[in-house]
């Protein structure tokens, strides 16, 4: 805890120093945007130094041996721990907290929208709540699975003792709390009301909360890029002997694909926000009245943000494909097709961004190609569905909570995919653009594809994280509850959207009131389901029955070690001799543990074995 304290103090000192220096040198008020920027940068440096950056990096730069925090005890969860399992839990807890905060925003919006006219929020506050809900949830979807499960599971799944760059991994996590603080602190500077997309020129002219948004997202982008590189290098260089690319577990493949995207495109979000920031504080005029055009912002922004939805759902694909063979007790159908599908999604997703701009005044000749490329993405996505349904087909299904959530995923993401075709199609998009149809479609894909994957992963790997089993009955009730209520919430929104209800406006014509009220009530019930989830998991983490190392009889490596795994994951070196998903195949072996190599491996890790 001492490090958290030191980090907070240094962050505060840095923030104040940055503001003081700016005000002294440049003049102006301490809430000027320039002052806030320098305050944030120095505060960030202070935070990272205080939390352990000084010991982990600074000492090495000074020519001494780097130090990191101890590897035992519960306080390591609040320190600069380089253990990927600790970092995974840190990410998981952080992002579930953020998910709940974002959920409160959603509840506020639905309460406001329960009746036409003005309710608890005025129109500008509504925009601010929309923006806050949007960016928090996008952050959860982008980094929730990758951060929590990617960090925890991937090194074990590929048979490594840790990530390739453990210190960088810790750094990437500790960049996240300042992001959350900056976003949640934005209301003190007037909040941001330009949506999570923060389109220019509105984002150039709105209140100063926007500058905190920009700084936070640029920092978060850095964290994503570092995390993505770490996952890629881990999978490339640290696979266990015998683990060829064709034997890599599908969840690792999915995270590989998502990280490939994330480290190639995340900087475009940062770039678009840097341009906005420069326009706000440095007098440039990318989006100003003489030169600029908002279309430039949209191009750069969507060049990240369309691939970003694949960064969100690809790990979801991975989770579902990972657990379906386990619960169907069958080999994963069309493993190679699923991998090819996911990699094709990576390739295609960077050439479809302009389908967000069919009504923005972009050159007409671009409409056709972007429509066709967008619709082409359904082909590789179909391969993933093929793999999943082929595995379920004639399987001996074991209806546990993860599988129920996987069915919820299947249903929701299918609806999300099919409704997307009408948005990719230029003619229908011109009618549907900026209506609640888009909202409903987006939530079906992202909640359906990413958050349901996150929930399924949470239940699937919960015994591995904690060594204890969650309450199965409550888990199943939750799975059905969340799936049904999610659909009750968003199906009416398709209807009001097709009939022309605008999104991002806290008011609507009387005619839509019935459907909206139904959606609002469903949304509140949906929100309540998360209390059951949190209660179940918290209680089970402490009091649940012991789960044992492999409660699901899974074949992948993370289930072959104790729950939770030992300090450096393996006490002896695993060697891969077969395919990970050959459930029910006579005499098939996946991994053997080299007893001969045990001594060597233990010595290598410096662990007491």
């Amino acid at each position: 805890m001492k490090y958290i304290f030191r980090a907070s103090v240094l962050a505060f000192v840095g923030y104040v120093a940055g503001i003081w220096l700016t005000v002294t040198i440049r003049g102006g008020s301490p809430t000027d945007e320039v002052a806030v920027i320098f305050g944030f940068i120095l505060g960030l440096i202070g935070w990272l130094s205080g939390i352990g950056g000084l010991e982990a990096f600074g000492r090495q730069w000074m020519g001494k041996k780097p130090k990191t925090s101890p590897e035992k005890g519960w306080t390591r969860y609040f320190e600069f721990s380089i253990d990927h399992k600790v970092i995974g839990i840190q990410y998981g807890v952080t992002f579930i907290t953020v998910l709940l905060i974002g959920g409160i925003g959603a509840m506020l919006m639905r309460i406001e929208l329960a009746s036409a006219g003005q309710g608890i929020l005025d129109l500008d506050d509504f925009n601010k709540v929309v923006s806050m809900h949007g960016i928090l949830m996008v952050a959860v979807a982008v980094a929730g699975i990758l951060g929590a499960f990617g960090n925890y599971i991937i090194p074990i799944q590929v048979g490594a003792s840790d990530m390739a760059f453990p210190r960088l991994n810790a750094l990437a996590f500790w960049l996240v709390p300042p992001v959350a603080i900056a976003l949640l602190g934005a209301p003190f500077l007037g909040a941001f009301n330009a949506g999570w997309t923060s389109y220019a020129p509105l984002s150039v002219t709105n209140e100063s909360g926007q500058i905190l948004f920009n700084l936070a997202i640029i920092t978060f982008g850095l964290s994503s890029i570092l995390g993505g590189i770490n996952v890629l290098v881990t999978i490339i260089t640290m696979r266990a002997p015998g683990m060829t690319w064709g034997r890599l577990p599908i969840f690792s493949w999915a995270c590989f694909a998502a990280s490939l995207l994330s480290f190639c495109v995340t900087q475009f979000f940062a770039a678009s926000l840097i341009l906005v920031t420069m326009d706000r504080v440095a007098g440039t005029s990318f989006f100003g009245p003489d030169v600029g055009t908002g279309l430039l912002f949209e191009h750069i922004f969507w060049f990240y943000s369309h691939p970003a939805v694949y960064i969100m759902v690809l790990p979801g694909f991975g989770v579902i494909l990972e657990l379906v063979p386990t619960f169907a007790r069958k080999p994963l159908f069309a493993y190679k097709a699923a991998v090819v599908g996911m990699l094709s999604i990576v390739g295609l997703s960077v050439v479809v961004w302009a389908h967000h701009m069919f009504t923005s005044g972009m050159a007409d000749f671009l409409h056709g190609p972007f429509m066709i490329l967008t619709e082409a993405i359904s082909v590789p996505t179909g391969l993933v569905f093929l793999s999943m349904i082929g595995t379920l087909w004639m399987g001996r299904l074991w209806f546990r909570t993860p599988l129920l959530l996987a069915f919820g995923w299947l249903f929701n993401f299918l609806i999300g995919g099919i409704t997307g075709i009408f948005l990719a199609d230029v003619a229908t998009d011109i009618h549907l653009h900026d209506t609640y149809y888009v909202v409903a479609h987006f939530h079906y894909t992202i909640v359906g594809g990413s958050i349901f994957g996150l929930l399924a992963a949470l239940f699937y790997w919960f015994p591995k994280f904690t060594g204890r089993m969650y309450n199965e009955r409550l888990g199943q009730i939750f799975a059905v509850w969340v799936t049904v209520m999610f659909n009750f919430t968003f199906i009416p929104l398709f209807w009001v959207g097709i009939n022309g209800m605008n999104r991002r406006i806290g008011d609507y014509p009387e005619a839509f009131q019935g459907a909206n009220r139904f959606a609002s009530i469903s949304a509140l019930i949906l929100g309540a389901s998360f209390l059951l989830l949190i209660g179940n998991l918290l209680y089970s983490a402490i009091k649940g029955p012991k789960a044992g190392p492999n409660p699901w009889n899974s074949r992948t490596l993370e289930w072959q070690v104790s729950s939770p795994p030992p300090q450096h994951n393996f006490t002896s070196q695993p060697r891969i001799v077969g395919h990970p998903y050959d459930y029910g195949v006579e005499g098939s072996l996946y991994a053997v543990f080299d007893e001969a190599g045990a001594g060597e491996s233990a010595e290598l890790e410096g662990s007491p074995a």
């Binding site: 101890p70 590897e71 290098v233 490339i236 900087q267 770039a271 678009s272 005029s285 600029g292």
Partner: protein, 201 residues
């Protein structure tokens, strides 16, 4: 490039007792190289975004009154600094510590010359095409971004130089120097693209 040489001393050191860092950077040159290349690749996209913004908002327009002579000189300075950075890396690879320090110092000095030139450039630019103008917008953005990278490269070179004086690095373990020099080459390469974008088109 050898990838498997780990001096016993380093391996022993890095697997010390409780709470010590158990996976030293020197331990995994292959992962480090791949990671660095990925980081550089990632940075390329960042520059690409700003270059795209320049062409998108102003096409290939450039105003009269650009200081071509200064820009060309600065390009030369930066290219020469790349050579000296390379020589520093090769020196430490062959354990020529003196040359390593010498060439690192030369690189840092050339970096400072470049930054000074950029400062002159910017003070001139602010009169002829201030940031509010179409060209000035892209100009200040690209030059500023690149100068920031040069500055961070100089800081990194300083750390490497400091460690060199402290007796770190050697023919078997020069990853720190190698990584910084590769980054420096990348910064040069970025200028090789930015220079024609702003001055020659």
């Amino acid at each position: 490039m050898t990838t498997d040489i780990v001096p016993d001393a380093v391996a022993e050191d890095s697997h010390g007792g409780h709470g010590e860092y158990h996976q030293d950077t020197a331990f995994q040159p292959r992962a480090n190289r791949i990671g660095l290349w990925m980081f550089i690749f990632s940075e390329c996209f960042l520059f690409a975004a700003f270059l795209a913004a320049r062409f998108y908002s102003t096409g290939t327009y450039r105003p009269e009154g650009l200081n071509q002579a200064l820009a060309l000189t600065l390009t030369m300075v930066l290219l020469v600094s790349s050579i000296s950075a390379y020589l520093a890396e090769v020196s430490i690879k062959y354990n020529h510590r003196r040359n390593f320090k010498l060439f690192t110092i030369v690189t840092i000095l050339l970096g400072f010359v470049f930054l000074a030139g950029v400062a002159v450039e910017l003070t001139e630019a602010i009169q002829h095409y201030p940031p509010e103008t179409p060209y000035g917008t892209s100009y200040f953005m690209l030059i500023g971004l690149h100068a920031f990278h040069v500055f961070s490269g100089i800081v990194a070179l300083f750390i490497v130089l400091f460690l060199g004086f402290r007796g770190h690095f050697g023919s078997s373990d020069y990853w720190g120097a190698e990584g910084v020099v590769k980054y420096w080459h990348f910064v040069d390469l970025a200028w090789v693209i930015i220079y024609p974008t702003l001055y020659l088109f």
